[in-house]
């Protein structure tokens, strides 16, 4: 029996009723105010939205036996850099992770809720959701925020996971109405995504090892930061580097900062000689 913030004392029945094992569905009936994006927005929130933190570029690319998901570290507030070390890549469960672009606070809440959602299902049912099941669940959550999105509180996830049945990595993207759209080879979201995608287009090869893909996505993030003011590049002075994670048969693994530091250092030193980065053959 819990006493919830609205002061209503809840009965056991709320917890013991047989129901679909979705945490979000449970919260919707039990404590809807705990869901992200549930607060009432004023008639014109656009002024307030300028004061919110926005997260930017996320990239994902398939690699041999898995997928790499990475993001820059910058959050902006209008033309101000609001934060230099944001974590936009979040482990969702053992074999999947999401990154987000858009309203930072909502993104963080989505990441947290989605993590509980997957784990809740797993504990209730004694099995993990299929990768499609997870992707669909996330689509549902994104769609739940459509009201906020229409008023400017946009947040878009990029979902990547290891498909245990197929033995490969898979990537799913979304728009504000949901999705999921399955992406092949590589994908990117956020303000720098155009540049990151163009960069990956030239660098990505099918069947690259995870080490090579990690290098390619760091290059892509560098290119995004090079041309998009809202995307942060590797910050050598403050030792802040992109968050890079791999998801393979061994599960989710966030590369330690020492490793990303090395890769970023390699990319930056390469750019000292060739500011535009590695070039692809003309034909």
């Amino acid at each position: 029996m819990g006493t919830h913030s609205d002061g209503v004392r809840r009965g056991t029945a709320d917890f013991m009723t047989a129901r679909i094992p979705s945490f979000t569905d449970f919260l919707t009936s039990y404590a809807p105010d705990l869901l992200p994006g549930s607060a009432e927005l004023g008639p014109d929130p656009s002024e307030a939205i300028k004061g919110l933190r926005h997260a930017t570029t996320i990239v994902a690319a398939e690699c041999e036996g898995g997928v790499v998901l990475a993001g820059d570290r910058r959050a902006t507030m209008g033309n101000v850099i609001a934060q230099r070390d944001v974590e936009k890549i979040h482990r969702s469960d053992e074999f999947s992770a999401m990154g987000f672009a858009g309203t930072g606070s909502l993104g963080l809440e989505f990441a947290r809720l989605f993590q509980v959602e997957l784990e809740h299902y797993e504990k209730m049912e004694g099995r993990t959701l299929s990768l499609e099941g997870k992707a669909n669940r996330l689509a549902n959550m994104v769609r739940g925020n459509i009201g906020g999105a229409m008023q400017g509180l946009v947040v878009i996830p990029l979902f990547a996971g290891y498909d245990e049945d197929a033995g490969t990595g898979r990537i799913f993207s979304y728009d504000v109405v949901g999705g999921p759209y399955e992406e092949h080879r590589y994908a990117s979201i956020g303000s720098g995504s155009v540049y990151a995608k163009s960069s990956l287009k030239k660098l990505f090869r099918d069947g690259m090892s995870s080490e090579d893909v990690v290098l390619a996505v760091v290059q892509a993030l560098y290119d995004a930061a090079d041309d998009d003011s809202a995307t942060g590049g590797p910050d050598l002075t403050r030792q802040i580097f992109p968050v890079v994670s791999t998801i393979t048969a061994d599960g989710f693994h966030r590369l330690p900062d020492s490793e990303t530091a090395e890769i970023a250092q390699q990319v930056v030193s390469g750019r000292l000689g060739a500011p535009d980065g590695p070039s692809a053959p003309l034909s």
Partner: protein, 308 residues
């Protein structure tokens, strides 16, 4: 509550309910939960590999139950939901076994007094801490009584018999295989001398809360890993088994024919692992000298659980 003709005193009504619940619980076989050096071990006799008696509640908290399946399964799911809501609302670190145990106690107490039929269950909520001192084990009965059980707990129909053996065998800082050996010996003490089938890997449900793991510490032990641990836990019995499967089986079933033999059978197998049981008893006597290093069968390195 609807009454038949005539007056039934509240005392009598409560007694009847308690008897009813107790009988229901007694139908199931007892389970044990105990500390080992690397965390908390839970062992339950369970022939089903799908309908669990032991489950994960949260990152560092597990649930074990005996009694009526649909009732404790309902409680388990409610507990998972309660834990997930609490952890989502506040922080993952704010979900504690104490909180969940109290929540269960409140609910079971309410069900016991307010509803016609009490729940025929007995549950244990255990939390693995950063150090053995901060481990917590709570036992909650059908009427909502909670007890804090340091070190180990036996629960279910013949909890007293099981607990007695466990008390003898339990010592602080046991390795996983020693703890499993103690648990199996304790579980063999039940059955009231009736046929107690040998607890083989496929008739056991075993899980641990592994102190060393990050995030979610709950792990089930099964298959080859469990068989290997069982072999370590009772080397003698396994030797017989591997020598000739049928003879090992018939030996144990022959044992269980007479009234005290299931106990004596267990004892003989444990006397094979002299170092383990000897150590258990010695430290049991010294009551509290828990700093002796365990001298039982060699522990697998670390917790012995394969890590992904």
């Amino acid at each position: 509550m609807t009454m038949p003709f005539g007056y039934v005193s509240p005392e009598q009504a409560m007694r009847d309910k308690a008897d009813y619940a107790r009988k229901g619980v007694a139908r199931g076989r007892s389970c044990v939960t105990l500390q080992y050096e690397g965390g908390i071990l839970m062992v339950a006799p369970n022939a089903s590999s799908a309908l669990h008696k032991i489950s994960e509640l949260y990152d560092r908290i597990a649930f074990a139950a005996v009694g009526r399946y649909n009732e404790y399964e309902n409680l388990r799911k409610a507990g998972v939901t309660y834990a997930d809501v609490t952890g989502y609302q506040f922080d993952r670190a704010d979900v504690t076994a104490r909180g969940i145990a109290n929540w269960y106690a409140q609910n079971l107490g309410e069900i016991f007094t307010a509803s016609l039929k009490p729940f025929e269950v007995e549950i244990v909520v255990a939390e693995v801490g950063a150090t053995p001192d901060s481990d917590q084990i709570y036992r909650i009965t059908f009427d909502g009584s909670v007890s804090d059980e340091p070190g180990f707990v036996a629960f279910g129909g013949e909890a007293d018999e099981v607990a007695e053996v466990l008390k003898e065998r339990f010592s602080d800082g046991m390795s996983l295989s020693e703890a499993l050996g103690a648990a199996l010996e304790a579980l063999a003490a039940q059955g009231n001398g009736q046929s107690a089938p040998e607890l083989t890997a496929d008739k056991l449900e075993v899980a641990v809360l592994d102190r060393a793991r990050a995030h979610r510490t709950f792990r089930r032990l099964r298959g080859a890993r469990l068989a290997e641990l069982l072999a370590e836990a009772r080397p003698e019995a396994e030797k017989e088994d591997s020598g000739e499967d049928s003879s090992g089986d018939s030996g144990s079933s022959g044992d269980s024919g007479s009234s005290k033999s299931s106990g004596s059978g267990a004892k003989s197998s444990s006397s094979g692992s002299k170092s383990a049981s000897g150590k258990g008893k010695a430290s049991g006597k010294s009551s509290g000298s828990d700093d002796d290093p365990p001298t039982g069968p060699p522990a697998p390195s670390g917790d012995g659980i394969p890590k992904k």
